[in-house]
Symmetry: C2
Subunit: 411 residues, 2 copies
């Protein structure tokens, strides 16, 4: 029996994190949950009791459809890690369980990446410690696809589809003039190159594909890179390169740090990583005197609700629903994972996994999926990604723009 349940979203936004929220909400209602609460801005808002009744926010099936199609996090998100040292932070943990008690919560769902799975781990551990029977289930999402054990994470497929599609367009755009030019597309993924690898999908019947592709899994050699660009410019007009924002030299320095730009850090103390494409474009332009174009996909790649993968949106929904089903079945301390049964035809199911075995492990692109010289990826990566970008969920267009559902407008 599900009484009241609560759901939150955490970590970076994706185009489909709200589809998981829709899956949690709808399945919880279908399985008889009395109240489905949502926490604003994850566990951080929860601690301030910023808790909403989802029934007041999702009023119709149309709202639910809009929710699936709305990028970013409907409930708001946070970056907040619960303290590792539980014994000296019992007050905080007790506070969480008091709030849960106050709202008569029986199950807690948290949609997010590595940090969020860590939250599920700690809370389910603490529940055992204090003999609480509240169930805690993790719902993975991250465009970075860097979560262990699960075949892939919801959010990755749509970001990959966006990257593969706009890369095709950037290639067409670069061919417009009969002059030498180099485009450098900068793609998210600080440590894992899954998203940058998705640019390889641009190569198909009607497209040349990118010429070079650099993942953060291998060190980046600027001189070697410049040599390759020179060779390509001898042979063709339009050279297109995809680079991860996080590529580093053998000395461990980010490539964007090689520039003389003003640097700054964001509110979380992370160095702003963008600038890699701009730096590479500027040194190419200087050395070869050709037209160059840095193209930073920046936040567009994670919030492009207007071009999502239906496979991804559907799986995101299923993963949310399966989390509720698991709690209903009495599970706790688990995370829902995606299990690929077959790649061709693509068949994928959900499964449950012990959260202790998954949290805080970062999954990178296997080195054997990168070509030996480190400038491209193998078909294995392409075949792995391809099924995840299939089909579309058409946005609901109102007066020419994709319609979203918002919890409230910021004045």
């Amino acid at each position: 029996m599900l009484g009241n349940v609560i759901v939150g979203q955490s970590g970076g936004p994706t185009a489909v994190i709200n589809s998981s929220l829709a899956g949690v909400y709808k399945t919880a209602k279908d399985l008889g949950a009395k109240k489905v609460y949502g926490m604003r801005h994850g566990i951080q808002g929860f601690l301030q009791k910023r808790i909403v009744d989802m029934d007041e926010k999702i009023r119709s099936d149309l709202d639910l459809e809009l929710l699936k199609r709305t990028p970013s996090a409907f409930l708001g998100s946070c970056r907040y890690k619960l303290p590792d040292d539980i014994s000296s932070n019992r007050e905080l943990y007790d506070n969480i369980f008091e709030i849960l008690k106050e709202y008569e919560i029986t199950a807690f769902f948290y949609i997010g990446g590595n940090d969020s799975m860590d939250t599920i781990k700690k809370l389910s551990d603490y529940a055992i410690l204090i003999n609480s029977d509240i169930r805690f289930i993790g719902v993975p999402k991250t465009i970075d696809n860097d979560l262990a054990v699960t075949d892939h994470t919801p959010g990755f497929g749509s970001a990959a589809k966006y990257i593969a599609s706009v890369t095709k367009e950037v290639i067409r755009d670069g061919l417009v003039y009969d002059v030498k030019n180099v485009s450098i597309i900068e793609i998210m993924g600080r440590n894992a190159g899954w998203l940058t690898g998705a640019a390889a999908l641009a190569k198909c019947e009607d497209c040349e594909g990118v010429d070079l592709l650099y993942l953060p899994e291998l060190p980046f050699d600027v001189d070697e890179f410049m040599k390759r660009i020179g060779e390509l410019l001898e042979k063709k007009n339009n050279v297109v390169v995809a680079v991860s924002e996080g590529i580093k030299t053998a000395e461990g320095k980010y490539v964007f740090e090689l520039t003389n730009h003003t640097e700054y850090v964001d509110a979380f103390g992370h160095k702003q990583l963008s600038g890699t494409a701009r730096y590479l474009a500027s040194i190419i332009s200087e050395k070869y005197g050709c037209k160059t174009r840095p193209v930073e996909l920046s936040s567009l790649q994670r919030c492009a609700g207007h071009l999502t993968s239906r496979v991804d949106i559907t799986e995101a929904y299923q993963v949310g629903g399966s989390a509720v089903k698991a709690a209903y079945d009495g599970e706790t301390g688990k995370v829902v994972i995606l299990k690929r049964v077959s790649t061709d035809p693509y068949i994928c199911t959900t499964d449950l996994y012990d959260v202790h075995k998954i949290a805080n492990i970062e999954k990178k692109v296997p080195l054997e999926w990168i070509t030996e010289n480190g400038t491209y990826v193998s078909d294995k990566l392409v075949n792995y990604i391809r099924p995840l970008i299939q089909a579309e969920l058409t946005p609901i267009m109102i007066t020419g723009q994709p319609r979203h559902i918002v919890i409230d407008l910021e004045k």
Copy 2:
């Protein structure tokens, strides 16, 4: 009677310039043209006799549909201005007419912006001079919308729709954390602010819209800007600003030139304009210590074939077709323009205009359509743009990506 005709594309790529090409091709065939030739890379390729038979490239109605949906210029484009001084360049002009004679051309269509209309003007003038009855008709396109006389230019509507849509997504993305942050969206348009103005369309029932909007029509005051950002950050979390890449200080210096970045010029000697958003983001971050995000829409805004306006694509096709109809009717030295009959309901027709009265005049956003303090635009601009972004032409998706038609793949 149309015998053989030829068509070329010139200037920057757009998402719908190929729809105009489709309109020229189909209408020419329907009106009985024997051969429809295409010039590779505009007049520049024409001078090298890089001429193709369009029947060999467009083999079916499906190809025609793909052509409408393929961004960039199918035939390739150029930036080439015919010399003004005709009398001392008669050899060049004679050469053009010899090639036209060789291919038995009766009508010449050129799809492009201001420079292309200038080409039509010069060639039609020269035809009169040498008593040639070849007809020359201009087919306008430019995402910048800076062409005089025509209500708007094909290409603008789709770029505006893309900008309006992704601006909504960037705003949603910025609201995800409960922290102060400023996004600066940098939009194309060196001298005219039409595209930047399109960001104002993000404001609708489900979206807060951008907070500030700076067009290149007015000088940009950095101190004033910083003051406004400070005031906004006092009031709200998520501040979003749209700026034209071409904004300049009162002293006439580009804002991006205020930075200490390595600067470089492109192959045409134009200074690379991007960097405005990055510069503004860095000084905001420095002064207010908050998270900032520069988002450069760069070439994505002009090649986003995956999100086009059906109104725009249809009008682009009609403008191409009307050009052929005009030549069929014996017109020359004309450009097809769009005439807005009514805004609500939106009704628009094509008309013909003397190319001498249109070439080389740059149309900017009327100053009375910009708010007095220069930080936003009036409803007049929004109402002008809104009809142009309506409805979609769904891409033909193959294995998860929009399919294009290409004249040949670059090896």
